[in-house]
Subunit: 188 residues, 2 copies
């Protein structure tokens, strides 16, 4: 019956359903059920499925923006580990969002506005890397490529481990990964 519906709850639930089912599989019926509200309410409040999904993904971005930002501290190893940990802590959702965006959202023009949601962390890390490069402590080159070398293995590891691929791949050992990364990219 009539009750107050928390938009944030609906948005979070919407993203959950998207991650589990993809855009086509995230039917408005499924989303409504998962959110514990009536399907017609979704259309009354949000207009259309695309508008709901866009709003939900933008809400996800707002939540990311509200988090404590990863800051440059001057301690290279600690910053790298912090970056990778920030990513790893949100890895399941972040990897899922990244895949959702890259493979599905890109296919639906009506979701265009939500395209940039999962890449803000990457941008921010690029700025931190650039700072260390400026100080001559990391190899020169495109900062985003360096971020790729840092995060790529983590991203792919998370993706592969989240599906039944038949690959016996263990979780990544973050301190070891950072140590190897430092051997490769740090300037001593």
């Amino acid at each position: 019956m009539a009750k107050q519906i928390d938009d944030a709850d609906v948005f979070t639930t919407t993203v959950d359903v998207l991650l589990a089912n993809g855009y086509a599989g995230a039917t408005t019926k499924l989303i409504a059920e998962a959110a514990g509200i009536n399907e017609v309410t979704l259309f009354r409040k949000y207009g259309s499925k695309a508008q709901l999904v866009t709003a939900a993904l933008l809400h996800e971005r707002a939540a990311l923006e509200g988090e404590k930002p990863t800051e440059y501290t001057g301690d290279l190893a600690a910053d790298l580990l912090g970056m990778v940990r920030t990513y790893a802590e949100a890895a399941h959702r972040q990897s899922g969002l990244m895949m959702l965006i890259l493979s599905e959202v890109a296919r639906y023009p009506e979701l265009q506005e939500a395209m940039q949601v999962p890449f803000m962390l990457v941008s921010r890390f690029g700025q931190i890397v650039a700072q260390y490069q400026k100080e001559g402590r990391l190899q020169p080159g495109e900062p985003l490529l360096v971020v790729g070398a840092l995060l790529g293995p983590v991203i792919v590891n998370t993706m592969l481990r989240s599906a039944e691929t038949g690959l016996p791949i263990p979780p990544i050992d973050l301190p070891v990964h950072i140590e190897r990364f430092l051997h490769g990219y740090a300037i001593r």
Copy 2:
């Protein structure tokens, strides 16, 4: 009208449509149009959409298996570059397939049989890495994690560049990437 239809052509086209549209978006109508055949023929020859898609993905795997395998040569840097090049040459299709499998095929139980298609290269590379580790030329540890460190940045780079992410990310410089990787993981 009646003509000979090449299964291989249909399968390749099917995968093309899957990569462009995803599973839900790859309607049998679209696939038939793209293959230049009648939609009803798809059901006559392959039974159902799921069976067609599974057959197409398995055909993709057979094509991969038929390719010249990347072999251990004893020249570490050349092998690493060869591995990364093998992946990069097929990158657009491989990354697309990987994303398709991880994010979509995993959601449809009827496609279960096709799950392992894009991961054969990864397995093979793991074996080569293990060989170099045995010889004490690469850092010890889980070979697949080392492959992740080698391929992860390439995979993610390809994924990010294939979509409109707003990130100004350039293509990866493979020789530089190998050089940095060697600094990080090779034992001199």
